[in-house]
C-alpha cells in the first residue's frame, strides 16, 4: 500500500523519534511510506479555539499534500479526529471527503486495517500505564470508555499485549482526562496542570514505570507536570514500543 505519513507539527518539532518509529513500523509491514514535505498541520489548534475560518487555508494545504494515497496514517489521535470529524472549514469536494475518509490513526490502522497479529521484534519488559487520550477513546473509539455499558474492548491493549514482557498497571481513574485539551492547556493552565498532576500521580501510585499513549500531546503535558512535581515516570509513544524500543 502507498501510505502518506502525517506527522503533526509538535511531533515534528518535539518528538521526532515518534515520527521515526511510525515510519519504520509501517515500513516493516512492507508499505511504501511517503512523507509529503510541504505538510504543516491539520488546523485543529485554530478550530478547537472556535476559529474555523482561520483554518481553511491549512485544511486546503492538508488535502493538497495527502490526496491520492491509499491511506494517510498519523501517530496522533486528536489530529486524526480533527481531520475525520471536524475538518469542515473548506468546501467538501469529493477529493476532500476522500482524504478525510482515508485518514487513520496508527493504532486503528494497525488493528483494523493491517490486522497485525505479532510484533516479533518488540520486547518491552516494563510496567506500563496506558493513557487513552480523550480523542482516541471517545471520538475514534479505540476502547470502551468506562461511562458506557458496553462490552470491554481496547485496541491499544490488543496491540501492546503482543509485545513480549510488557506488564500493565491499572490506575484508579483509567480514563480521566489528563488536562491537555489543546488551547485549554494554556487558557485554563491552573486546572489543566492540576489535572495533569493528578493523572501522573494516579499512574505512579498504580506502580507504572512508563505511561504509554497514542497521543504525544498528552504525553508532552504529562511529562511537564511529572517533572514539575517530581514524579519519577517515563513517557513513551505506543509507536516506539511496537517498533521495538526497549526503554
Amino acid at each position: 500500500m502507498r501510505i502518506g505519513l502525517f506527522i503533526p507539527c509538535f511531533i515534528d518539532a518535539v518528538f521526532p523519534e515518534v515520527g521515526v518509529a511510525t515510519l519504520e513500523l509501517l515500513e516493516r509491514f512492507g508499505h511504501e511510506v511517503v512523507y509529503p514535505r510541504d505538510q504543516t498541520c491539520c488546523g485543529q489548534p485554530m478550530a478547537n479555539a472556535g476559529f474555523n475560518a482561520e483554518c481553511a487555508d491549512t485544511e486546503a494545504l492538508f488535502v493538497r499534500n495527502f490526496s491520492g494515497f491509499d491511506y494517510v496514517v498519523s501517530p496522533s489521535g486528536s489530529c486524526v479526529h480533527h481531520v475525520r470529524d471536524n475538518f469542515d472549514a473548506i468546501e467538501q469536494t469529493d477529493e476532500v471527503k476522500e482524504v478525510r475518509a482515508r485518514t487513520f490513526e496508527l493504532v486503528e490502522f494497525l488493528h483494523d486495517i493491517q490486522k497485525v497479529d505479532a510484533f516479533p521484534w518488540a520486547r518491552f519488559p516494563h510496567r506500563v500505564g496506558l493513557h487513552n487520550s480523550c480523542g482516541t477513546l471517545r471520538r475514534l473509539k479505540h476502547a470502551r470508555p468506562s461511562e458506557l455499558h458496553e462490552p470491554f474492548f481496547s485496541k491499544p491493549i490488543d496491540l501492546l499485549s503482543k509485545v513480549d514482557g510488557i506488564e500493565f498497571v491499572r490506575p484508579a481513574r483509567p480514563d480521566e482526562c489528563c488536562g491537555f485539551g489543546g488551547t485549554f492547556s494554556v487558557f485554563e493552565e491552573v486546572v489543566s496542570t492540576k489535572m495533569g498532576y493528578d493523572k501522573v500521580s494516579d499512574h505512579a501510585q498504580a506502580g507504572a514505570e512508563y505511561i504509554v499513549s497514542a497521543d504525544s500531546s498528552c504525553l508532552m503535558h504529562q511529562r511537564g507536570c511529572a517533572e514539575r512535581i517530581g514524579v519519577p515516570l517515563k513517557f513513551i509513544h505506543i509507536a516506539q514500543i511496537l517498533n521495538g524500543a526497549s526503554a
Binding site: A13, F15, E189
Partner: protein, 517 residues
C-alpha cells in the same frame, strides 16, 4: 430533586441516639472520658477558609479560570470536592452495570424528550387542560420577571408573607429569592444544602448537591453565625439536627409552599417532584397554598414515560436506585389551592437553535458535573452562572452570550459528559459548537483572534512555516505561539517545557530518506 446528604436516615434520629458517633470520644465502661479527651485531643489548625466563587462584574465576561485557580489553591476543599463527586460518578457506574438495558434506556429517554420537545405546544396545551380539570390553576410566564410577578400576585391575593420552598434551579434562574426579599416576603429554603447556601448568601454550586463545595467546617461557621450553633462543633449530625430544629417551626407557620417539578405529565395533568429529604412534601402539604414553578421543557406525554426517566434520574445523579421520595401532585387538597406557573425564560428561543436545542432534554441530574474533571477541580461557583459544569457551558450563553463567553472554553473537550448523560445530549460537541458561535459573534478577545489569524497564515504556507521552525531550537521558540496562542508563559508556570531534540523529524527524514523524493 435535591440531596445534600446521603445519611438521611441518621438525621431522623434523636441526637442522644447519636452520642457514640464522635470519632474523638474515648469511652470507658460505657462512659465518655471528658477529662482524658481534654488532655489528649490533638490541636487542630484553624479550618481552611472557603474559597468563594467567580467575581461577577455586571455584564463583563466571567473569569472562570481565576476563580478555579483560587479553588485549587484551597487544597482541602478541592480534594474533598474532587473525591466526593468522583465517588458519585463511581456509584453511578455501579448502578449502570446493574441494568443490562442501560444504553437502551438512555436511547429511549432521549427519544421521549426529543419527541416531546418537537411537539411542545401540543403537550403543554394538553397538560393545561387536564391540570385545570384537576382543579389546578395554570399560569404562563414568558420570562423571569413575569414568573416572579405572577407568584407575587398569588401570594398577595392570599395575604401570604412567608413562603417555604424546595429546591428549584428555575427559581435560581429567575432570581426569585432576591425579588421576594424586595417585596417583603420571607423565603425559607427547606432542602438542607439549599438552606445552607441561602444562609450563606451564596448560589447553589451544583444542581443536585448545592453545598457540595463546602467542608463541614464551613457549614459549622455558617450555622454558628445564623442559627447559633457551637462554632467548634463540626459533627454533621449535630449540624443537621440544629437546622431541623431551626427550620421546623418556620415550615409549620409558613403561609404558602413552593416546589419545582422534575416531570410534568401531559395526559394526566399532574407533576412529579423527586427529593431525598421529603422537604418538597412538607413545602407542598403543610401550607394550604402550593405553587409549583416549572420550566416548559419538563413535560412528558404520558405516565408510562416516567418509568424510563425515573429509572435513570437518581442512578445518574447519585448512584442510588431512586430518590427517597417521588411525589405525584394531582390537584389541591380539600380547602387548599394549587397553582402551576409554566415558565419559558428563553426556552422557546433555545428550541429554535439548530445546534443547541437538544440541551433542553436535560433532566438536571448533574451526572455531567460529577464526571467533569474540570468541574470537580474548579467548584461550581467558579462559573459565575446559575448552571455550572458541562451543561452550564452550553446553556448559560443562551442567557447572556457576552457574560458567559468564556465558559465554553473552560473544557478540555474530553467528552465524558456526553457519555454519562442519561438523555444523550451531545454536550461536548455543543461546547465545541459554542466556541465557533462566540468567535463569529465577536465575543472572544481580539488578541486571541489576531494570534489565530497569524497561526492560520503561517500553517498554510509551508516555506514560511519551515523557516520559522528551521531547527528544533527555533521551533520551540515559535511552535507554541501557534499551537497555543499565548506562548510559553502559561505553559511553563506549573509544568516544565518540552526538551528540544537534536533535530526535527523533517530534517531527520531529509537526511535518512531524502533520496526517495
Amino acid at each position: 430533586m435535591s440531596t445534600s446528604r446521603e445519611r438521611t436516615d441518621d438525621a431522623m434520629l434523636h441526637p442522644e441516639m447519636l452520642a457514640g458517633v464522635d470519632p474523638d470520644a474515648i469511652i470507658r465502661e460505657g462512659h465518655r472520658l471528658d477529662h482524658a479527651e481534654g488532655t489528649s485531643k490533638p490541636l487542630r489548625p484553624a479550618p481552611e477558609p472557603q474559597p468563594r466563587g467567580a467575581k461577577v462584574r455586571g455584564n463583563r465576561p466571567i473569569d472562570q479560570q481565576e476563580a478555579a485557580a483560587r479553588f485549587i489553591a484551597a487544597t482541602e476543599h478541592e480534594k474533598m470536592h474532587d473525591e466526593r463527586l468522583w465517588d458519585l460518578r463511581q456509584k453511578r457506574d455501579r448502578e449502570m452495570h446493574g441494568i443490562p438495558e442501560w444504553e437502551e434506556l438512555r436511547s429511549l429517554a432521549s427519544a421521549i424528550k426529543e419527541h416531546t420537545l418537537t411537539h411542545l405546544d401540543e403537550y403543554l396545551l394538553e397538560f393545561e387542560a387536564n391540570a385545570r380539570s384537576n382543579g389546578i390553576h395554570v399560569h404562563w410566564a414568558r420570562d423571569a420577571a413575569e414568573h416572579n410577578q405572577i407568584v407575587h400576585g398569588i401570594l398577595r391575593d392570599h395575604g401570604a408573607t412567608s413562603l417555604i420552598k424546595s429546591k428549584s434551579m428555575l427559581t435560581e434562574e429567575c432570581g426569585f429569592r432576591h425579588y421576594m426579599a424586595s417585596v417583603g416576603i420571607d423565603v425559607i429554603e427547606t432542602d438542607l444544602g439549599e438552606r445552607i447556601q441561602q444562609l450563606d448568601n451564596e448560589d447553589p454550586s451544583h444542581v443536585v448537591v448545592p453545598a457540595v463545595h463546602k467542608l463541614r467546617t464551613d457549614v459549622a461557621g455558617v450555622f454558628s453565625r445564623t442559627i447559633g450553633t457551637d462554632p467548634g462543633n463540626t459533627d454533621v449530625h449535630y449540624l443537621a439536627e440544629a437546622q431541623r430544629e431551626a427550620t421546623r417551626p418556620l415550615i409549620l407557620n409558613a403561609d404558602a409552599g413552593m416546589t419545582g417539578a422534575n416531570f410534568v405529565v401531559a395526559e394526566t395533568g399532574t407533576f412529579v417532584v423527586c427529593t431525598n429529604e421529603g422537604n418538597a412534601d412538607l413545602s407542598a402539604n403543610v401550607p394550604k397554598l402550593h405553587i409549583a414553578s416549572i420550566g416548559i421543557e419538563k413535560i412528558i406525554p404520558r405516565l408510562e414515560h416516567l418509568a424510563v426517566l425515573v429509572r435513570l434520574l437518581s442512578r445518574s445523579a447519585l448512584g442510588s436506585l431512586m430518590t427517597q421520595y417521588t411525589s405525584h401532585f394531582r390537584g389541591p387538597r380539600a380547602g387548599g389551592e394549587m397553582h402551576v406557573v409554566l415558565v419559558d425564560n428563553g426556552r422557546s428561543a433555545r428550541l429554535g437553535l439548530d445546534e443547541f436545542w437538544t440541551s433542553l432534554k436535560c433532566i438536571r441530574c448533574g451526572a455531567c458535573m460529577n464526571t467533569c474533571p474540570v468541574y470537580r477541580r474548579s467548584g461550581g461557583l467558579s462559573y459565575g452562572a446559575t448552571y455550572s459544569g458541562p451543561i452550564g457551558l452550553i446553556i448559560d450563553p443562551t442567557f447572556n452570550a457576552r457574560k458567559y463567553s468564556n465558559l465554553p472554553f473552560a473544557s478540555s473537550l474530553n467528552g465524558s459528559c456526553t457519555n454519562v448523560c442519561p438523555v444523550k445530549i451531545n454536550i461536548h460537541e455543543q461546547i465545541y459548537a459554542w466556541r465557533r458561535v462566540l468567535v463569529n459573534q465577536h465575543e472572544v478577545p481580539l488578541v486571541k483572534k489576531a494570534a489565530m489569524k497569524a497561526a492560520g497564515a503561517l500553517l498554510s504556507r509551508p516555506a514560511a512555516y519551515r523557516a520559522a521552525i528551521a531547527t528544533a531550537d527555533t521551533a520551540l521558540a515559535h511552535l507554541p505561539r501557534f499551537v497555543i496562542y499565548n506562548g510559553l508563559n502559561a505553559w511553563g508556570k506549573h509544568r516544565e517545557v518540552p526538551h528540544p531534540p537534536k533535530q526535527t523529524f523533517h530534517s531527520w527524514y531529509h537526511a535518512n530518506r531524502g533520496a526517495k523524493q
